[in-house]
């Protein structure tokens, strides 16, 4: 999802440069869309031709994938799997937000916690989550609990690190201003100055972590095969129904991109003062 947005930006810039006022003109935008569509059509055409000349098992044609997607959407398991996956993601991401923000504020604001807990959190950050998955499932169970922990660990760090940085760099002079006007308690300073000052960082952290959360969700489900998109993928994979595998994978990047876009919109809305 990150790769997609950078590619978009890279493709978008030359077209934007052509108009003198800096904003993309109507025709430029249209031609950009046409170009993108042409790339898609080209890739699909090559894929279709290549698929027709190879074993369907190795490379199913786009048409076969589309048929499979239609099948699992309307007669198959996609909807319940997606519902189950979304539930897992919502719970895991929710916990990651609470945990990431809380720890970010505590470590960012209080030096004692920063120096005592910081190194261990960094060590955990440096450990690939996927290596921990088997252990987490043993510890937290093969039910929803274990899977939620995987999603939490996957999406926790961008939220935590951004909150931490935002709180730590909260301008000290604004804290002074609030104190001079009678904000006397630590809670008041957090609520009125430190957290609002860190909010742009926190929101960016949420946007960055949702994609990782989707990855964590898929990983946990692939390991567990107990419902959700991940288990669907494994299930079709072991049956060698390659076109169904691809059809089940397709919703994942879509989900990731849509959620990232939504969080980006929330960010721009709440965070208008930064860009104006």
């Amino acid at each position: 999802m990150t790769a997609d947005s950078t590619t978009t930006a890279r493709l978008g810039r030359p077209a934007a440069r052509r108009t003198p006022n800096g904003s993309m003109g109507h025709s430029a935008r249209l031609s950009l869309r046409v170009k993108r569509l042409l790339v898609l059509v080209g890739v699909l055409a090559v894929w279709q031709i290549a698929g027709m000349f190879s074993l369907p098992l190795l490379l199913p044609t786009p048409w076969a994938v589309a048929t499979a997607l239609y099948d699992i959407t309307f007669h198959g398991d996609l909807v319940p799997a997606l519902t189950s996956s979304m539930k897992l993601l919502a719970i895991g991401f929710g916990i990651a937000i609470v945990l990431g923000c809380t720890l970010g504020i505590v470590l960012g604001r209080y030096r004692l916690f920063d120096v005592t807990f910081g190194p261990y959190l960094n060590a955990l950050y440096a450990t690939p989550e996927i290596a921990l998955v088997p252990l987490i499932l043993v510890w937290f169970g093969f039910g929803l609990g274990g899977r939620v922990v995987v999603v939490v660990i996957a999406s926790f760090f961008p939220i935590f690190i951004n909150t931490y940085a935002g709180v730590r760099d909260a301008p000290g002079n604004l804290v002074e201003v609030a104190r001079s006007f009678g904000v006397a308690t630590e809670r008041g300073l957090l609520r009125r100055v430190v957290v609002p000052a860190a909010l742009p960082f926190i929101l960016a952290g949420l946007r960055l972590s949702i994609g990782r959360g989707v990855v964590g969700m898929a990983v946990a489900e692939v390991y567990l095969r107990l419902g959700g998109i991940g288990s669907l993928i494994v299930q079709y994979g072991s049956a060698f129904k390659t076109n169904y595998v691809l059809a089940a994978i397709l919703p994942l990047p879509v989900l990731s991109i849509v959620l990232t876009k939504i969080l980006g919109m929330v960010e721009r809305r709440l965070d208008g003062w930064r860009t104006t």
Binding site: V177, W273, R274
Partner: protein, 288 residues
């Protein structure tokens, strides 16, 4: 209000000491910012504090604001000792100190919200102050959309919104360009003439100090600054109605303060082992 408060100065500083300590290469370092500062400010007086940079002017203001505790000595306001910030004082900060995520109006409302004043009343009072500083049309903007001068007007409006008895101003026009500064000095004098507040005004600008003040406290060079002399400015008010700079009292006060500052600088420069007698004037003023 009848008996003791009449003969007691509004702000009394009693032997204020303040050291700053920090660790450098594992060793405890310490420097004395204030080495026993004492002076009084009368009610409704406009009193400036001037001194070479690094002499602890801002530290002094922070002690009076209750933001930094003094190591020893007392700050009495209306005869009562203070140690914390309070509603009787409001600070105007050098770097404006506006909250970038709040609109201009919400910035001005901020201290009123802290005091739990009902929202409609807070809005009315904040708008009134924005009118005073001429920024009512900018109430819905965010601070970073305004120029430096406008931002400091917001800072002033915010301080005035709580209707404090004392206004503490920490080099308020130091970060503003020269032309705007001149305009704002006059505006400040007009506002002060109407509202009659007790003002403690920190500045490093000699001309600014003489222009706005009733009395000027000259601090000696740090470390361990003390009051070197208090220079009265006997210029008639309102001062925007005539050419203040041509007035004999202006020239006299300016010359006196300049000679005091120059003494400080000479002592400091020769003390540091540099060429004696070669001194630099504080910024924002020209040679007398």
């Amino acid at each position: 209000m009848i008996d003791s408060s009449l003969d007691v100065a509004k702000i009394q500083l009693r032997d204020i000491h303040k050291d700053f300590t920090w660790k450098s290469k594992g060793r405890q370092q310490s420097t004395r910012a204030l080495g026993g500062v004492s002076f009084d400010i009368q009610a409704n007086e406009f009193c400036s504090v001037i001194g070479p940079s690094g002499c602890g002017k801002t530290t002094l203001l922070r002690v009076v604001a209750g933001l930094t505790p003094a190591d020893s000595g007392q700050v009495l306001i209306g005869g009562r000792e203070i140690r914390e910030p309070g509603d009787d004082r409001a600070v105007v900060f050098q770097q404006f100190g506006l909250f970038p995520w709040k609109t201009v109006l919400d910035n001005v409302k901020f201290p009123l919200t802290i005091q739990h004043i009902p929202d409609h009343e807070a809005t009315a009072r904040a708008m009134e102050q924005l009118e005073t500083v001429g920024l009512a049309d900018f109430a819905g903007r965010h601070p970073q959309q305004l120029s430096g001068g406008m931002q400091q007007r917001v800072g002033l409006a915010r301080a005035l919104a709580v209707n404090p008895e004392i206004l503490l101003m920490d080099e308020p026009f130091g970060a503003i360009d020269a032309q705007t500064r001149t305009v704002m000095q006059e505006e400040l004098m007009r506002i002060w003439a109407q509202s009659k507040k007790t003002v403690l005004f920190i500045t490093h600008d000699l001309d600014e100090a003489v222009l706005v003040s009733d009395r000027i406290v000259v601090l000696s060079a740090g470390p361990g600054s003390v009051v070197q002399e208090i220079v009265p400015v006997d210029l008639p008010r309102p001062r925007w109605e005539y050419d203040v700079r041509a007035h004999p009292a202006y020239i006299e006060a300016r010359a006196r303060i300049w000679s005091l500052l120059k003494q400080n600088l000479t002592v400091r420069v020769s003390g540091a082992g540099s060429v004696p007698g070669r001194s630099t004037e504080p910024s924002g003023s020209s040679a007398p």
